[in-house]
Symmetry: C2
Subunit: 346 residues, 2 copies
Amino acid sequence: MQYAVLLAGGSGTRFWPLSRRSRPKQLLSISEARSLLRITYERIAPLFPAERVFVVTAGDLAGPTRREIPEIPGANVLAEPAARNTAPAVGLAAAAIAGRDPDAVLAVLPADHHVADEPAFREAVRGACALAAAGRIVCLGVRPSRPETGFGYLEVEPRPDGTLAVARFVEKPDLPRARAFFAEPGRYLWNSGTFFFRADAILAAIGRHLPDLAAALGRFASGESDLRALYAAAPSISIDFGVMEKEKGLAALPLAAGWNDLGSWEALAEVHPADESGNVATSDVLPVDAAGCVVHAPGKLVALLGVHDLVVVDTPDAILVCPRERAQDVRRVVEALAARRREDLL
Amino acid sequence: MQYAVLLAGGSGTRFWPLSRRSRPKQLLSISEARSLLRITYERIAPLFPAERVFVVTAGDLAGPTRREIPEIPGANVLAEPAARNTAPAVGLAAAAIAGRDPDAVLAVLPADHHVADEPAFREAVRGACALAAAGRIVCLGVRPSRPETGFGYLEVEPRPDGTLAVARFVEKPDLPRARAFFAEPGRYLWNSGTFFFRADAILAAIGRHLPDLAAALGRFASGESDLRALYAAAPSISIDFGVMEKEKGLAALPLAAGWNDLGSWEALAEVHPADESGNVATSDVLPVDAAGCVVHAPGKLVALLGVHDLVVVDTPDAILVCPRERAQDVRRVVEALAARRREDLL
């Protein structure tokens, strides 16, 4: 059977001040009324019955997560006792699901991405699940729409059977390399962080590349240890870096569905319509000689006078103002708040 | 006897979104907890007993104005039935006070200016009142601290008796002229809009230069017409343009007391201390690679990331973001709101 695993961890820094530790990105309603987690669930719900949808999230987010997706059994929300990046999260989900269905095929999807063309996305998921059911580990690769320097890439090669093989993972490139990649759209795809595999296949791959994690998962699966012991033993590492980049024989499936990882406030401009001045606002905005700004200030009018390409975000206790090109540096604000022990704003 | 007349009209555009029609600048607490009107009153209170302090304000602001200065008799708050600029306001105050004290000397002071050195200011007011009691019409002229293009100037000449005579009023100069004025500090002073005269002297001057207003004031003073009829007949003109610029024999008294007319949010940077990055904030601010910004956002933290020389103002229903050098154009935002019939934000 096929299962969806939504990765819904997240530390809540990229969309500060809207995102906080207690309300990370996947629980936010950024460009529409539904949360990103809810949108992700509804996107894949036509393919996976609710009892076969799992979510891995932080322990203290289990309650809000269950409230966002009341359709799925409460036990399907796997609450991590500590943040250990995605490899332990994927391993936990694979072990938990393999224990009830040894032939399970898993679709592992980040719970905080944007997809414009949902039918096209589901079509890709269907194809990837079929490949995974046949034993392959499959990466969903996004056809680049610009020479993006903010993503990792998959370098792919066509195989005789018509599928694509992942030749290697490529770290975030500089702009000249990103432009070269963009000039070869058949060979370079964005790594979307979306993966498909049989549960036993990924557990075997974890065994090859992260033996300590595999051993801890084995003790947990056998009942020899509990979740807390699993996470105490688990290394903090991403499934990409810990397993996928080292694994041979990965398949890639190309996706052209208006995908966006919503990596920062800047990304709002890529998924939300702009006004005639190029300002993108989810709320009331009054531009006077202003262009290219991104505004999120629910319930307020934001008057932009003589400014351009700024991000302005308002929340009940904090405001962010930064140039769009600095939006990814909002983590520096969060770090500065942490240094000042402003727990109320983290 | 000496009387203070505080001019407290104002349309509430320059400090939008904090200022509104119902809460113009003089009722705001901008750089400290007290309102500008209250600060103005307390600044001159050591010189004028409360019963000899008058305020001219808009009809619908009489209530809030009385609440700000509960010390003065309610009847001393003169409520204008219509906005007619400062000449009718000064005429009304002069007529009202002359009716009870034919020898009254009036100090007419805008109610929304900033003065850093209050003892020095009071010393100047004392000197100006003495000159006015001797029959002169006196302008308080501020010694320029920079080549300001936003103010009108008084060109002055020393007289044999040691006082300064106003040779002429100079309109707001361009930068080269402002620089030339700044190079002759003994000859050019900023017009502070603060005037001193006997009530009968200003009424006579109004008779010379604004005969229609003088006639309407005469009918009002004799009981032949009421306040509404006075304002229906009164021209809308400033006391500077309508009377002072045309009157001969004006005296000037120089002031060096850290005066600022608080003409826009930009001025906040001139009267409020800056942090080590040159950011001026009346509320909690977190600058990261940010400098020279002016922030007013009571009860909120404003994170400034990678921006410089911006004005950021937060209120419960509106936010303003603009470069400091565009702060005087905030009226364009107010005009745009009026065009959109956003009465809720005006």
